[in-house]
């Protein structure tokens, strides 16, 4: 009987996690077309808790979940000191980029729309760019189109959405993929947590090899 609960970010990460999980456990605890968000641990598999990406580090740090799967972009934007990043699962790979209506590097004071104000601010400081951040929570591609901000800092996968809005990628600020995070107390006191990491890391390589 498993005693582990894994919090997984809903959306792309949850979808990408399924092949890894199925390969490792031979069973996926979430039935198709269900709206349930909590699946307790069973004899066959650890439990799953589905939540918004931003909430995963909080759940893990408070010990509600033993482990969590969340994007590196979220971990860097909302740093949480009381967790351990224990594996790069190499799924849901994407990038945080700066893009604009022109492909030119920003000169002078600029305005940048983003849903990653912390990452964007660090980027501006690092490159000594004087800029004003406009915090938006989504549909960032609209900002240059509507004249709200000539530049955006956003997450991209293939870049198709950017090109559909006539936006040019100027620079990749960071690469991101899903990371397995752990509650330190559970990491040290539940041997099963470290075993889960090892199994997932192994499957990550196996599934990666099959794809390659």
């Amino acid at each position: 009987m498993s005693t582990l609960t894994i919090a997984i970010a809903k959306g792309r990460i949850l979808d990408s996690m399924r092949p890894l999980w199925e390969a490792a456990m031979n069973v996926w605890p979430i039935p198709d077309s269900t709206r349930q968000l909590w699946f307790p641990p069973s004899a066959q598999t650890p439990g799953v808790l589905i939540a918004r990406a931003r909430d995963i580090p909080t759940m893990v740090s408070l010990g509600v979940a033993d482990l969590g799967v969340v994007g590196l972009d979220v971990l860097r934007e909302y740093p949480q000191p009381d967790i351990l990043e224990v594996a790069d699962l190499k799924i849901s790979q994407c990038r945080i980029v700066m893009a604009g209506s022109h492909d030119s590097w920003p000169e002078g004071p600029v305005r940048i729309a983003t849903k990653y104000p912390r990452i964007a601010r660090q980027f501006l400081e690092q490159h000594q760019i004087s800029g004003e951040l406009v915090a938006l929570s989504g549909s960032l591609e609209l900002a240059p189109v509507l004249g709200l901000a000539p530049y955006i800092v956003d997450i991209v996968d293939t870049g198709q959405t950017l090109s559909e809005h006539d936006l040019h990628e100027i620079l990749t600020i960071m690469a991101s993929s899903a990371r397995l995070i752990a509650n330190p107390a559970h990491w040290y006191t539940k041997a099963e947590a470290q075993e889960f990491r090892d199994v997932m890391a192994y499957q990550r390589e196996e599934v990666g090899n099959v794809k390659r």
Partner: protein
């Protein structure tokens, strides 16, 4: 409401027992302000040292045993956590470790067995230096570990010194390899052996603590099914003005410790 009142009562009774126990063991209380310099208190140690730094001398020859209490602020969750902070300043390594040992025996003297994780920044740095990686890389590596980022730390080590990947193997005291670059020195081994009577003990060189002033031994205590640390601490060195403060200290997180002491989980 009665249950809530009773829980509060029990937590305060526990706190009083802890405070009385420290006073009985010759510790001096030092008040620290919950706010200062436009920030909330996130750690007692800095505030304690700041207060002591105003006095021209240490006040006594041997190790100075002090404590402070009160909640600390956790910026990421915007929460206050009730803590008890214990510091032993000055004195020799063995003296201060002996005092910590005595305190841990007192704090862990219950039906439940905690799990203690021990690391050592000095040994980690020596091991990494032995591996041939640069000081800059060592700083980066330790920086990653301080923020809990084992992925990038492991990846850096894999690139620079692949044969040192074993550093990330957490070893329980029972299966501890007694020799080689990853093993603790003899005095630490003795300490860990003596602690294994009261706690499960793991040696994890990748455990470096969260505070930048830790520079030697670091340790944390956890309880099974309690998702928060019970106790966290380590050896430190802090420079304030021209004075260097060396010591060892730890924080008791009263809420999780109470759950552990009562054995409610």
């Amino acid at each position: 409401m009665n249950q809530w009142l009773r829980q509060n009562l029990e937590q305060y009774q526990l706190l009083v027992r802890l405070l009385t126990g420290l006073l009985d063991r010759g510790f001096y209380p030092i008040p620290t302000a919950p706010t200062g310099q436009q920030t909330f208190r996130v750690d007692h140690t800095l505030a304690i040292i700041d207060s002591l730094n105003r006095f021209p001398d240490m006040g006594q020859g041997g190790p100075l045993k002090i404590f402070s209490t009160g909640p600390v602020y956790q910026p990421t969750s915007s929460q206050w956590t009730e803590t008890l902070d214990v510091e032993i300043l000055g004195g020799s390594d063995s003296e201060s470790l002996g005092i910590v040992d005595d305190l841990l025996r007192w704090l862990c003297d219950g039906e439940n067995r905690p799990h203690m994780v021990i690391g050592d920044l000095q040994i980690l740095t020596q091991t990494l230096t032995l591996s041939g990686i640069t000081k800059e890389d060592i700083d980066t590596f330790v920086g990653y570990l301080r923020t809990g980022n084992r992925v990038d730390a492991e990846s850096l080590l894999a690139r620079r010194a692949p044969s040192y990947q074993r550093l990330f193997h957490i070893q329980s005291w029972d299966g501890l390899e007694m020799k080689g670059p990853f093993a603790p020195p003899v005095d630490r081994q003795r300490w860990m052996a003596s602690l294994s009577n009261l706690s499960d003990v793991s040696w994890d060189l990748a455990s470096v603590g969260t505070w930048p002033y830790y520079n030697g031994l670091v340790f944390s205590l956890y309880g099974k099914n309690i998702g928060q640390p019970l106790i966290r601490g380590g050896q430190f060195q802090l420079t304030l003005g021209e004075r260097v403060w060396r010591g060892i200290g730890f924080t008791v997180f009263v809420g999780p410790y109470e759950l552990f002491a009562r054995g409610v989980i």
